[in-house]
Symmetry: C2
Subunit: 303 residues, 2 copies
C-alpha cells in the first residue's frame, strides 16, 4: 500500500474509534455532573486510540459482530484513560500536562481526579457488560464472558496495576530494577492493555485458538517495543513534539532501556521486537496489511 493509502485508512479508523468512544461516554447531567465532565474531559483529551483501533481491526479480520466488539473498544479506552488520570496525580507521577493539555487533577482538583478515574474504571465494566445485549446465542455469550475475563485480568493486579506497583516499588528502591524487572514492568504496564486490544476482537469472533495465542505474543512484543520507544523519546524529543514533560527519567536517575543499553542498543532492541511481532502477524490465518503497517510504524514513532 502507498503512504497515502495508509494515511487515509488511519484517518478513517481514528475517526471511527472516536465515534464509537464518544457514543459510549456518559451524558453530563444530574447531581454527579462534575465527575461525568471530568471523565469525558479525560477521555476526550485524545491520544492515538491505538488500543480500540487494534480491537476494531482484529474484530474485523475475523468478522466479529459490531454489537459485541464496540462496547469493548470503548471500555478498553476508558481503562487506559483511568490509568493515565491516576498516574498523573501528584501522589503518583505529578504531571500537570499530558498530550499538551492540562491533566485531569490540574483542572478538576485531586479529589475529583481520584473519583473520575474510579468512575471511568467502573464505567468501563458497565460498558463492556452491554456486549451481552448483542449476544444472540449461547456461543456468543460464552465469547463475551471470556472477553470480559481477559479485559479484567489485563487491567488488574495480575496485569497493568501489577506493573504500576513494580514501577512504584523500583522508584523507591532502584537496586531492584534489573532488566528482568524492567521487562516485567513494561509487559504489565503497557503490553497487557495491548493484549486486550489484540485478542478481544479475535475472542469475540471465535477466531482459531492458534491465532489468539499468536496475537497475545504480538502484544508482548509490541508493548515492549512501544515502551522502549518511550524511553528513547524521553531523551531525544521535546515537550512541544511530545505534549508532555521530557527528560524526567534521566533527571531522576531512573534505569531505562536507554540507560541499560544506550540509545543505539535500545533502538536495536525495539526493531528486533517489532520484526518478531510482524513475523507473528504474517503467520496468522488471516491477513490485515493496514494493521501490520500500523504496528511497524509504531516502532518508528516520534511522539
Amino acid at each position: 500500500m502507498t503512504a497515502a493509502e495508509f494515511n487515509n485508512w488511519l484517518m478513517a479508523r481514528t475517526a471511527e474509534c472516536e465515534q464509537v468512544i464518544a457514543y459510549y461516554l456518559p451524558k453530563e447531567e444530574g447531581n454527579a455532573r462534575k465527575v461525568l465532565e471530568a471523565m469525558n474531559y479525560s477521555v476526550r483529551a485524545g491520544g492515538k486510540r491505538l488500543r480500540p483501533m487494534f480491537l476494531l481491526e482484529v474484530a474485523r479480520m475475523y468478522h466479529a459482530k459490531e454489537a459485541l466488539y464496540q462496547p469493548f473498544m470503548a471500555a478498553l479506552e476508558m481503562i487506559h484513560t483511568y490509568s493515565l488520570v491516576h498516574d498523573d496525580l501528584p501522589a503518583m507521577d505529578n504531571d500537570e500536562y499530558r498530550r499538551g493539555r492540562k491533566t485531569t487533577w490540574a483542572v478538576y482538583g485531586e479529589g475529583m481526579a481520584v473519583i473520575a478515574g474510579d468512575a471511568l474504571l467502573n464505567y468501563a465494566y458497565e460498558t463492556a457488560l452491554t456486549a451481552f445485549d448483542g449476544a444472540d446465542n449461547e456461543e456468543e455469550r460464552s465469547r463475551v464472558i471470556r472477553a470480559m475475563k481477559r479485559l479484567a485480568a489485563n487491567a488488574g493486579p495480575s496485569g497493568m496495576v501489577g506493573g504500576q506497583c513494580a514501577d512504584i516499588e523500583t522508584d523507591r528502591d532502584s537496586t531492584q530494577l534489573d532488566e528482568a524487572m524492567l521487562r516485567y514492568i513494561h509487559e504489565k504496564k503497557t503490553a497487557c492493555l495491548i493484549d486486550s486490544g489484540l485478542t478481544i476482537g479475535a475472542i469475540l469472533a471465535g477466531a482459531p485458538e492458534d491465532d489468539i495465542d499468536k496475537l497475545a505474543q504480538v502484544a508482548v512484543r509490541v508493548g515492549l517495543a512501544f515502551q522502549i520507544e518511550d524511553d528513547i523519546l524521553d531523551v531525544t524529543s521535546t515537550k512541544e513534539v511530545l505534549g508532555k514533560s521530557i527528560g524526567k527519567d534521566a533527571a531522576e536517575g531512573k534505569a531505562t532501556y536507554v540507560s541499560m543499553h544506550g540509545l543505539d542498543g535500545a533502538r536495536e532492541k525495539a526493531k528486533e521486537l517489532t520484526s518478531e511481532a510482524l513475523d507473528l502477524m504474517d503467520s496468522l490465518s488471516v491477513q490485515n496489511p493496514f494493521l501490520r503497517e500500523l504496528l511497524r510504524q509504531l516502532a518508528e514513532r516520534n511522539k
Copy 2:
C-alpha cells in the same frame, strides 16, 4: 428469637463472611507483591461485613447456589473497601485512621494506596466474573449477567461514585447542600452498595420480581437510616468507640441530618425509615427473622 440466639447467628455469619472474603483475596507473591499486600491489608482491616452478609442472607432466603453468590459477596466487599481506601486519601478525606487502624495510604504511601484501590476495584470484577464458572445453564448465566450489571451500576458514576462527586462538590460550595442533595448523596454513596447486597442474592436465585423491587426499596431506607446514624454518631460518640475521627462534620460546618433536624429529629427520621424498611421485609414472599433483626439493630447501632 432471643438476644443470645441473634448474637450466635451474627457471630456465625460474620465468620462465614470472613471465610468467603479470605478465600477470594489474592496470594501475596510475585513482582507486584506490595500492591497485593496493600489490597489484603485494606480488606482485612475489617468492618462489619454487612454488605456481603446481606447478600448471603438474601441468597439463602431464595436458595441461590453458593458457586453463584460467593464470588459476589467477595466482590462487593472489595468494592466497598476500594471506596474507603480512596476516600481516606489526603486528596479526599485525609484520614489516617479507620476502624482503629492506620489507613492504607498511611501505611503504604499515597501512590500505592491509589493503585491498591484501583487493584481492588479491578479484582472485584475479576472475582464476580468467576460466578459464570458456577452457572450450569442459560438461565443461571442470565442471572449472573444481570447481577454483574447491577453490581457495576451501583458502584459507578450512576451509583456510589456519583454520590462521592456530589459530596465533594457540596464540600466546595455548601450553598448547594439542601435536604434533597443530602438525600441524593446518601442514597448514592451508601444505599447503592446496600442495594447490591440486598438484591444480588435474590437476582441470582431467580426470586420473584416483586420481592427484588421491595428489597431495592429496603436498601434505600436502610442506607439513609445508616447514614443518618453516622451523622448522629459523629456528634455523640468518641474516637475510641468509633475507631475513627469524630466531630469532623461540625468542625467543618458541614450540613448533616443532625444540623438540619437536630439530634431528636434525626433520630426520629432514622426510626421512621427503619420501620418502613421492616414493613417491606415483612411483605416479602419469604421471611428471614435474623436478617430482619440485623436491619432493625443497625438503626440503633452505637459504632
